[in-house]
């Protein structure tokens, strides 16, 4: 029983990463009907930007002697990195996707893959092949509840993720931009007549998705403090699976499927040998998709996958 609860906690943490990244895939898909295949690499870039910001802040502390506490540095790192990474998203939209907006979807998908490769190899060229280790900004503290162990980092990761998802939910449901995004997921023809330009809403969507990926990147760096240029590929693909499993374009679905994916992976690894983890976990997901090809919340009428 304790082990079961322990796995729930671990699943929540893993799920947080998947969910945050999957949201970026889903938001962009719901508006532009394309999957931004560079999104996993945006996660990687976000993590590196987080590394840079944290290093700079630590340097600032060392230089000036102003004793900023670790948690404050962490908060600032997350906020600054989300802000900076959102521009990476805007840039990708402007350079990679806007010129291809009317092109066949396959061209856009290939563009995404190429942007991903450019981000990975560009990073490799600039920073070199050596792996970086993410600075540990806060002391790890382990709490014990009955038989389960929870670190403060796990609480932070899950808490920050859920908090961001809540903010996003409110933004989408209540604000005018959220309304514009939802309306644009139906058509490009009428929404502009309400005085809304697709060229403002699409970059905004990329910006928010990228900011969430950056948050995921930093939280990931807290839990697994080794950064390398290819870290975004596998995680990105898995989050993409979560976005599909949640239902293409469904924000709620992406978040839930992200957590579900985390649980499935953790529990499979609990029962089976860990080398078989992904084989079995993704076979299960394949099975789910066989019976629910539109995912959990996908709508059959809006799923002409124009890939």
């Amino acid at each position: 029983m304790d082990l079961f609860l322990q796995n729930i906690v671990n699943g929540l943490q893993w799920g947080s990463f998947y969910a945050l990244i999957a949201l970026g895939y889903s938001m962009v898909y719901s508006i532009l009907m394309l999957f931004n295949f560079a999104h996993g690499d945006v996660f990687m870039v976000g993590s590196y930007i987080g590394f840079g910001v944290a290093t700079a802040l630590l340097g600032f502390v060392a230089l000036t002697g102003i004793p900023l506490p670790g948690w404050l540095i962490l908060i600032l790192t997350i906020l600054f990195s989300m802000f900076i990474t959102s521009f990476v998203g805007v840039f990708i939209e402007r350079v990679g996707y806007r010129p291809l907006r009317d092109a066949p979807r396959a061209s856009a998908a290939i563009t995404g893959l190429m942007i991903g490769i450019i981000l990975e190899t560009g990073n490799l060229a600039i920073l070199g092949a050596r792996r970086l280790s993410f600075p540990q900004l806060i002391e790890s503290v382990t709490y014990q509840f009955g038989g389960i162990y929870v670190t403060n980092k796990k609480i932070l990761i899950v808490g920050v993720s859920l908090g961001l998802m809540y903010l996003l939910h409110r933004f989408i449901q209540k604000s005018k931009w959220g309304m514009a995004m939802r309306a644009m997921s139906f058509d490009f023809e009428v929404v502009p007549l309400m005085g809304v330009s697709i060229n403002r809403i699409a970059p905004l969507t990329f910006a928010i998705g990228s900011a969430l990926a950056a948050a995921a990147g930093i939280l990931y760096g807290l839990a697994y403090p080794v950064l390398d240029p290819y870290m975004g590929i596998l995680l990105g693909w898995k989050a993409f699976v979560a976005a599909i499993l949640g239902g293409r374009g469904s924000i709620l679905g992406a978040a839930l499927a992200g957590f579900l994916l985390g649980f499935i992976e953790i529990f499979v690894a609990w029962v089976f040998p860990s080398t078989l983890r992904d084989v079995i976990a993704y076979s299960i997901i394949l099975l789910i998709l066989t019976f629910r090809p539109h995912g959990f919340f996908g709508q059959a009428h809006s799923t002409q996958l124009r890939l």
């Binding site: 903010l167 409110r170 933004f171 209540k174 604000s175 005018k176 931009w177 959220g178 309304m179 514009a180 939802r182 309306a183 139906f186 058509d187 023809e189 009428v190 929404v191 502009p192 007549l193 309400m194 005085g195 809304v196 330009s197 709508q299």
Partner: protein, 256 residues
């Protein structure tokens, strides 16, 4: 000065001449109708003026501002609202959200306020919700406000679409077949609603319609379009008795 002025507009789709030498003068507060057989180019004229297509030749001015080359969203914010022939509603948004979405550019709060729910943001939302509800009442759809657009009866969906167009505060409203597929009851209701908004909001209306009863009753001036060319323009009576119009609609009297 004319509110909306179109001079010698011509448009080609590839080699096909869809609109030829079309001109229009719409004075403030007037209702002008555009009739013509299927495929005459009526909706194309709407699309050209509202910026969805750019005309090959010609000039379009709204309140003296040139509209050629502007994006639809810019033309919309300059004061042109429109509806569509085949209802374009956002299926899974509520009726109230449709109208509030149209108030997009009147909502002034910033992006941070939206994320964290500032007081100003709440005030703005409240103000716009009140405005939207008033519009929905005008169009007789207020009781549907929290329902999804897709679940409404057809006539009510048409009225939601018009409420949405009116929410952008247009100076000119384009209606593309506002009574298509409506029952006679709904048709009469639509006539009285158009009269009402025409008076209450002081908006000029340019409409495409097939039902002559509707056009005759509402419009001060009617243009008849055939194969992209205006063959007749005048008051409802003149149009009704114009032999060219009768020929276009009913065919020629000569028997070959």
């Amino acid at each position: 000065m004319a509110l909306l002025r179109v001079d010698n507009m011509t448009h080609y789709f590839g080699g096909l001449r869809a609109v030829h030498n079309y001109s229009l003068i719409l004075e403030p507060g007037h209702i002008v109708g555009l009739i013509g057989p299927n495929g005459a180019g009526k909706t194309t004229i709407f699309n050209l003026i509202s910026g969805i297509h750019t005309p090959t030749e010609g000039n379009i001015e709204l309140e003296g501002h040139n509209l050629i080359g502007h994006h639809p969203h810019e033309i919309a914010s300059m004061g042109l609202g429109r509806t569509f022939q085949n209802l374009l509603l956002w299926r899974h948004m509520t009726v109230l959200e449709h109208v509030k979405m149209a108030c997009y550019s009147q909502l002034e709060y910033g992006i941070w306020g939206a994320f964290f729910g500032s007081r100003f943001c709440h005030q703005e939302e409240k103000r716009l919700t009140a405005k939207a509800m008033h519009l929905l009442e005008t169009f007789d759809v207020a009781h549907f406000s929290s329902q999804l657009a897709v679940s409404l009866p057809y006539g009510a969906q048409r009225r939601v679409e018009m409420a949405r167009a009116m929410a952008t505060n247009p100076k000119v409203l384009f209606l593309d077949e506002p009574t298509a597929g409506m029952t006679p009851d709904e048709l009469n209701r639509m006539i009285s609603i158009i009269r009402k908004i025409h008076e209450e909001f002081d908006v000029a209306i340019f409409l495409i319609e097939h039902r002559l009863k509707f056009v005759m009753e509402l419009c001060e001036r009617i243009q008849t379009l055939v194969f992209g060319e205006v063959i007749a323009e005048g008051s409802p009576e003149e149009t009704q008795n114009n032999p060219h119009v009768i020929e276009a609609y009913l065919g020629s009297e000569d028997i070959h």
